[in-house]
Every structure is written in C-alpha cells, then in structure tokens.
Amino acid sequence: MSNVAIDLTGVTKLFGNKLVVDGLSFTVASGECFGLLGPNGAGKSTIARMLLGMTRPDAGDITVLGLPVPARSRLARKGIGVVPQFDNLDLEFTVRENLLVFGRYFGMSTREINAVIPRLLEFARLESKADSRVGLLSGGMKRRLTLARALINDPQLLVMDEPTTGLDPHARHLIWERLRFLLASGKTIILTTHFMEEAERLCDRLCVLERGRKIAEGSPHALIDEYIGCNVIEIFGGNPQELISLIRPYVQRIEVSGETLFCYAPDPEDVRIQLRGRAGLRILERPPSLEDVFLRLTGREMEK
C-alpha cells in the first residue's frame, strides 16, 4: 500500500438531490503530481474536502495514506499539508507567528517549530518578511506563506485547491517553481485547477472532470495525443458558417466556440491556402493543448 497515496473507488456525493461527485474512481501514486481539472462546479473542491474527511461521501471508499477516510481522517491529516482555495491565514499575526500557531495545532513544541521556521521561510522566499504582519503582504507572498504553513508538519501528501487562482503571472510562476521543487524532493501532490497551463506544466497525470464525472484520465501529453494529435488553427473574424463550408474538406474536425473556429488539421497549409486573400481574418496556428482536449470532450471551452 505504501506506494499508493490516494485511492478513490466509486465515490459519490449528493448535496440535497444534486449530484456533485458521480461514481468517481482514481488512484494517486506516491511522489506523483495528480491534477483534478475542470470548470467551476465540476466537484473539484468537494473531492478535496472529502480527502480531508471534511465531507462524507454518500457512497464509495476513500483511502488516504493507507487510512480509510473519513473514519480515520484525523490520523491521515497528520501526514497531509493543505493549501486551501482561499487564504485563511491569521492576518493580525506576523509571518513567523502564523507558522508557530499552526505548528502547535500539529502538537509540535515551540522549540520544534522554531527549528523548522528558518527553512520554511527560505522555501517561501519570505526571510525578510518574518516579522511583518500578514495583512500587509502581497497576494503572492500570502500564497507562499500558506504553502510554507502547509509544510510545517513535514507532510507526505499535499492537497491543494486551486493553488494559484487569483495570482498575477509572476507570482504564479514562482509558486509553480516551488511546487516542482517539492515534487523533486519526493512529496505527493494532488491539486485542483481550472488552468490548463498549470495542469500541463505540473501534473504527471490528471483527471478531467465535468459535473462530478470523470471524462478522461491520463498524462497531459497522452491526453493531447489521444484526443487531438495534430496542430490547431484558430480562425477569428469571419462568418463561421461560411468559413466552415469552405475549409471542411481539409480538416479532421472543427469546433466553434463563440466567434472562434478551432480547426484540427493534419496539414494546416491546405487550410491556409483556402483562406488566402480573405480580409479581416485572424489566423493562429499552434500546437494542441489540454484546452483543446477539454473542448473536444465537452464541446465547449472551460468556463473559468
């Protein structure tokens, strides 16, 4: 069991009579970064709460770090670090005090906590802010402190609910870099996200969710190869119906999302020739991404 960090079998959750999680099964191996990818309302946060024993599934079995959850979730949480969707730091405390107070919740003595604080501050790049009040920190710094706080009990597993939502690109890249560092040091991470880029960059494997159901699972590259497998041409600025009839013979598949056409073409040059000379069109050719996978699977772009 030691190389399985998380195991879900047939997990179902209802709120009232609304099905939030629907017969979900997946396994996360130790040392892996596993992503739960889906739009808002797909059930991602509910799954994260169930892993922590804060929400009870209506059916199915959950095992976290070899322990049945929620029955033994308190014990499981000793080995888990949590980065919640919304920062819940103590704003009136300093950075150092936040770590101190949180370490005590894990039964650590002041001496033990003080011994690990310098390392955590260094990890979060907050050495110079140790005695600043948290209320005065930027959003990115607060997020890094939340991440450092989640590491105070030296957890094997990190559960992160949208770790970079609301951050600017610079702060987001810094968090990604820190998460890769944690993965390199052997931690297991499960994260929820609606950022395709985040999932592609960080996750070894991911599970694409829609309305509580798993619609695909695999490594980002395997999913892209399996569902797309060719370059994508985005066309914007013309009459979609007219364009479709024009290029239909030269593409494998066309998706329309709003005013944009997504054309999946084995030979993009054929499509370009058809469109040559048409004014006002913007044409962009790019490699396929998870966004295209999601579009293919659901027929729509991910709502953020």
Partner: protein, 262 residues
C-alpha cells in the same frame, strides 16, 4: 454514526490548548483595549448604580447596596465577557476569517476547537470577574479571603455562558441574530437573577423562572461568600452551572459538525 460523533468530540485532553494559545497570542496584542472594553461596563454599573441608587436604597440583606451590587457585578461581568467573546469573536473565526477551517485541516477535531474557544472565553470571563472582585475587596465591600473562594465560581460562570453562546452561534446564520440573544436573554437575565436587586422583589412567576437562570445560580454562590455569609444549596447551584457548561457544549459541537462538515 459513531465515527461522525467522534469527529465532533475533542480527540484528547490537550489538543484544545493550541487553540487557546492562538487566541491568547491574538489577545496579547490588544490586551489593554480589550480589558478596558470588558471592565468598563461592570465598573460603570457598580459605581453608577452603587453610589447613586445606594443613597435611596439604604441597606439590603444586611449589607450596603454597593456591596450587594458588587457580588452581582462579579457574576454579570463574567457573563458578558464570555458571551460577547463567543458571539462576536468566535463567530468571526468560525464563519468569516477561516480560522476554524484552517484548524480543521490539521490533526485537531471540531470538538478540540470548540473546547479551546470555550476555555478561552471562560478565561476572559475569569479575568473580568476576578478584577471586579478585587476592586470590591480593595474598596472594603468584601473580605480578601472571599475573593479566593469565588474564583472557581467565576470560572464556572464563564464556561456556562460561553457554552450557551456557542449554541447560539452554531445556529445563527449571521451576526444580526445575536441581538435577539442579547435583548431577549442576556439583558432580562440581568434583572431576573438578582444582580441589581433581590429576586424576592419579583412576582412569584418570575422568581421561579429566575431559579433556572445560570446567572442566578452564579450569584447565589458568589453573593453570600462576598457578604461573609453561608450560602444555601451550594451543591445544587454548582450542579446547575456545570449542566449549563457541559450540555450546550456537546449539542453545539454536534450542530457545528452539521453546519461545517456537510
């Protein structure tokens, strides 16, 4: 069902201390303002009513009115300190600030959190009640040794009212509902429980209601001691306060579990 109950109960006898220490650390930063806020009210009552009304009332139950009132204010200050800590500060930590959510992500249970909050509110009540008792003793309205005897009663009073208020915040959807608890429960209790005048002055029905109020039980324990007399039914009053401290604690922990762990 059993494990669900376990999640609402304290996991062990010491986990709550981490929650208490968190609140203590936050309080230390604003201790002066906090103490002033907690003590101003009972002091104003004590000296305002005590000296003003005292002139009209003369002696009551064999003591000066201000000495009679001092015992009532010791209990009342414990009541208000733990009530207000719970309905405002604890509610904020439970619902708006995410403090409880963060703690629930650690190895603490909901029961540990509720017990820690309860003990902290009782600590503030103990501080407030004890200060009033010391002021009363310093001014000669009570014997110094009597202060020592009432300390455990002050703490128990704090626990009882924190526990009752915990029940209120477990049920209240928002801050707006607390005004009902304040105006319909806490304020009437002040007048029904013999804090400012003897319960014997009330019509019979109200006297019977008063007997069930935790404040009356607290005052019936504190006043005789501070006035240098022997109290009646000491065991009964202590039992009643213990019941008010313990029962709402368990019920509120169960209610919080339903509210937060859906």
């Amino acid at each position: 069902m059993g494990e669900r109950f376990a999640a609402a109960l304290p996991a062990n006898a010491w986990n709550w201390i981490a929650v208490w220490r968190r609140n203590h650390l936050a309080w230390k930063k604003v201790a002066f303002a906090s103490m002033l806020g907690t003590l101003a009210d009972p002091m104003i009552y004590l000296f305002g009513l005590g000296t003003g009304l005292g002139l009209l009332v003369g002696r009551i139950e064999g003591a000066s009115y201000i000495a009679f009132l001092a015992a009532g204010m010791v209990a009342t200050s414990a009541m208000t300190a733990s009530t207000f800590e719970t309905i405002y500060a604890v509610f904020g930590r439970m619902r708006d600030q995410g403090t409880w959510e963060a703690i629930l992500h650690t190895q603490l249970t909901l029961g540990d959190i509720v017990l820690g909050e309860l003990t902290w509110a009782a600590t503030k009540a103990f501080l407030a009640g004890t200060t009033i008792a010391i002021v009363a003793a310093a001014l000669g309205y009570a014997a110094w040794t009597s202060v020592l005897y009432v300390l455990p009663v002050i703490a128990l009073t704090g626990f009882a009212f924190a526990s009752l208020a915990m029940l209120v915040i477990a049920l209240a959807p928002s801050y707006h509902y607390f005004i009902f608890y304040q105006t319909l429960v806490i304020t009437p209790m002040l007048f029904l429980s013999g804090a400012v005048f003897p319960v014997g002055q009330l019509p019979g029905v109200f006297q019977q209601i008063a007997a069930f109020s935790p404040l009356a039980n607290s005052i019936d324990l504190i006043r005789p001691v501070m006035l240098g007399r022997l109290g009646d039914n000491v065991g009964l009053h202590i039992g009643a306060l213990c019941m008010f401290a313990v029962l709402p604690f368990f019920v509120s922990a169960g209610l919080f579990h339903r509210r937060l762990m859906r």
